[in-house]
Symmetry: C2
DNA sequence: TCGATCAGATGTGCATGCAGTGTTGAACGT
DNA sequence: ACGTTCAACACTGCATGCACATCTGATCGA
């Protein structure tokens, strides 16, 4: 789920960054929640310096916004921005699907088949939480196979903000259809057709974007 | 040239961030150059805190890499990563061209026509420096017209690292061809054909990517 | 001559001090 | 009851202190 390169979990600031990031993505810190540096420093029993570092990184990542002399709060992702995020996601997922096709191998085939099998069962069963996980896992497998750190990082950034926004949006339906579309993406990748893989992946995200546009 | 949202030029850390970023992009700070926090603090007559803030932001932006207890240095952008950046840029420029088509208006038309006219003259004249500026201005105009902060920010991030990498790459040719391709993009946008605009813009970047792949 | 050793210098990473600013709520007058 | 005033509080943003890690270059031994 995380990622964000630069390991070094030894540094306190790095650990705090990951922790706060997880709290935001998981919804423990909701949009609008204030991030008080002294309060967080006390909570984690560290000084304000590494906390400040972590907050700065979150701001740079657009997960947090700060105002002059007023501190930081978890970013509110508007409906308009969510659509904008999906416009980016559409082309990025298309790109990684295309690249994954060019790098397709047996390992990727096994991974995707396993994910699809479980996802199909889960979707028919109606387990929405697990559906979200498997959906994310499917796309993550493809973007890892694409072996493009640049695209992967961008998708990570998009996805993190999407998750924040999704928490204040319903959009429950379409589990079975999602599996069907994933299956189509897999088949295009397996068939070695990059153009088809890209277009089908894009259409998949485009459909979700239109659902968001329609939803209220 | 800059951008990167979050105005507030009042904060010292913000000013330093912009300054260092400009130095990296302009080539004043070359890849591998060490960023000593105490040294920079002395140079700018500020304390180490805002310098540290600026460096952290640059690291988060991948313009700078830091190693545990070893400090930060300007990132070296490899040839492989440059190609990867162009794979991202290809789909992102395609996306903004498509969006710009949907938001096309007289103002954009005037802007693009003016840029193309000057660019054509400059290309025939062989002024490479001005060519680079006009090339960037053309793409910037389109991505502003797209009105997608998400895509704009991603393209900014890509472009900044491309500029760093380009400094150690020749890739001089193709000014006239670039103008032709820009002209084609403009015509597709003006014709209100989003699909064509996207594909032509993508092909434009794809060609540059292939040039990079070929170059050595 | 050349490699190993080690002390001094430099710098990172976390802790902390502090002035200035924004916020809040209680006291006050109307 | 209700708006205004203002003082105490909380926090930001910059400055600075310091322990420890890393680097450098001079000294030493073989």
């Amino acid at each position: 789920m995380t990622s964000s390169l630069q390991a070094d979990p030894q540094r306190v600031g790095e650990v705090l960054y990951r922790t706060l990031r997880d709290r935001i993505i998981s919804g423990a810190l909701r949009p609008g929640a204030r991030l008080s540096v002294p309060a967080l420093a006390e909570e984690f029993h560290v000084s304000r310096s590494p906390v400040r570092d972590a907050v700065i990184r979150l701001v740079q990542e657009n997960l947090v916004v700060e105002t002059m002399n007023r501190g930081a709060e978890v970013a509110r992702v508007s409906r308009a921005e969510l659509v904008s995020l999906y416009e980016a996601r559409e082309v990025l997922e298309g790109a990684v699907a295309r690249l994954a096709t060019e790098r397709y191998d047996a390992a990727l085939r096994r991974t995707l088949l396993a994910l699809l099998a479980e996802h199909r069962a889960v979707a028919e069963q109606g387990d929405f939480g697990r559906h979200l996980e498997l959906d994310a896992a499917f796309h993550r497998a493809i973007r890892q196979a694409a072996q493009s750190p640049v695209l992967a990082r961008m998708l990570d950034s998009v996805q993190s903000r999407v998750l924040v926004a999704m928490r204040s949006t319903s959009l429950t339906g379409g589990m079975v259809q999602a599996v069907h579309e994933h299956q189509a993406i897999f088949e295009a990748i397996g068939a070695g057709d990059p153009e088809a893989a890209e277009e089908i992946a894009r259409a998949h995200i485009r459909r979700l974007k239109e659902l968001l546009r329609a939803a209220d």
